[in-house]
Amino acid sequence: MSLNPTATSRIRATKLLHTAHGPRELDISFQWDRGRLLAVYGPSGAGKTTLLRMLAGLTEPDSGYIEVEGEVWLDSSRRINLPTRRRSIGFVFQDFALFPNLTVRQQLEYALPDPRKPAIIKELLAFMELEALQHHRPGLLSGGQQQRVALARAIARGPRLLLLDEPLSALDDDMRHRLQEYIQTAHRHYGLTTMLVSHHLPEVFRLADEAIFLEKGRIVGQGDPAAVFAERPLSYRPGSVDMTGEILNITADGEQLAVTILVRGAGNDRTIELEAAGSVAAGWRVGQTITITITPKIS
């Protein structure tokens, strides 16, 4: 628990979802602290996007309670439901939802609550490296550029809660890595509380302070990503996950070799220890880049 009670926010919500697998009840309850970067992870149809849309007020839960830093946004028992425009949020949509008629700069100006304070626009354009594109309309921009505009626009109004709905799913790996850095740096620089929907494990590990693991409409784990995913066999089929790392150290331990691997993140490197049979890892050298493939157990 945080010392400052208003720094904690909470949601409790139920909603009947109509998924490809038939009707399913979404029933979630969790809390989070100000300044955290939370990743909401889970297979498709688990209710990740619905969770984000409920926080934004774009989808109404059947029943629930949402309190963000001391302000009640939703209380179905008291019939309180703050409309979206009065919730202090920034939302990055999966398709970015940029306004086709406005230039990059105009998108940010539109987002400003007070048009007399345009200083943040200049700063955001510089921060997201969009200065050269500021007079272009979105139709001319690449996917990665559009994503940066959407991120800058969501931040421009200085939201309490930044919600990102799989913003990187449409991008290739290279672009994905670069944009993860933008998200992480923006999160820190602007002191945001961020919630990111993702079904990409490396992204969760790279970005998140905390992971929320959703499955079939229920939260099955919350906490440090390593702990959340270590505890659980992944019982669905997301395909295999590749992580690229650099070998830091190899020590012999009888027939086995203990290998320490550095997995690079955006300013947030992590190390992984693994044991490999001498016959497999005989050719491995310190400094070498290797790919670790994690294939989930199918139950």
Partner: protein, 225 residues
Amino acid sequence: MIDWQPIWLSMQLAGITTLILVVIAIPVGYWLAHSRRRWKTAVEALLSLPMVLPPTVLGFYLLLAFSPTGGFGRFIDQYLGLRLVFTFPGLVVASLIYSLPFMLNPVIAGFTSLSPDLRAASRTLGKSDITTLLRILLPNIRPSLVTGVVLSFAHTIGEFGVVMMIGGSIPGQTRVASVAIYDEVQSIHYSLANRYALTLLLISFVILLIAYGTNHHFNQRKTLL
């Protein structure tokens, strides 16, 4: 010699009708595009009815409705001092009903073609529905609005059956260009009829040319800066 009055009257009728239709079609189209009420389908069908009805059928029922001997006609005659049978205001009201689907349908199509996330995104940026409509939605459905304006204008200029039923052929009041052509043909003044017809044809072509030019220009601007 060609009498310009029927052509001028046609232009006035089409201009006024189109202007009023823009004002009506935007809120109604917005509601029909975004409402989830079940009976909106019935409203949509009802408002599209003039598109499939024979104009004389529509004109006949409007004549009955507007007649000062009927309930509705007597009401507006007594309380508003407005006579809608065989008058120019009557032609405007009839044209509004007759041309409404031609303005409304493109507007609805425009609204529904936009990603629902645009509206949602504007809300998440703290904007009201009115601001969203004026600054985001309407500018992005401009080609649909232009199409609606052109279709209603052209359709109103071309109307004949409804005008004949409800307006007759009173020079300077209800004798619009299409009626004038009919009158001249009836009087075997083929060359005069031809001049009216040719003028209407030219005007229609110029309107379409301007509309397509505007939309083409807009579509280019949308992507190129």
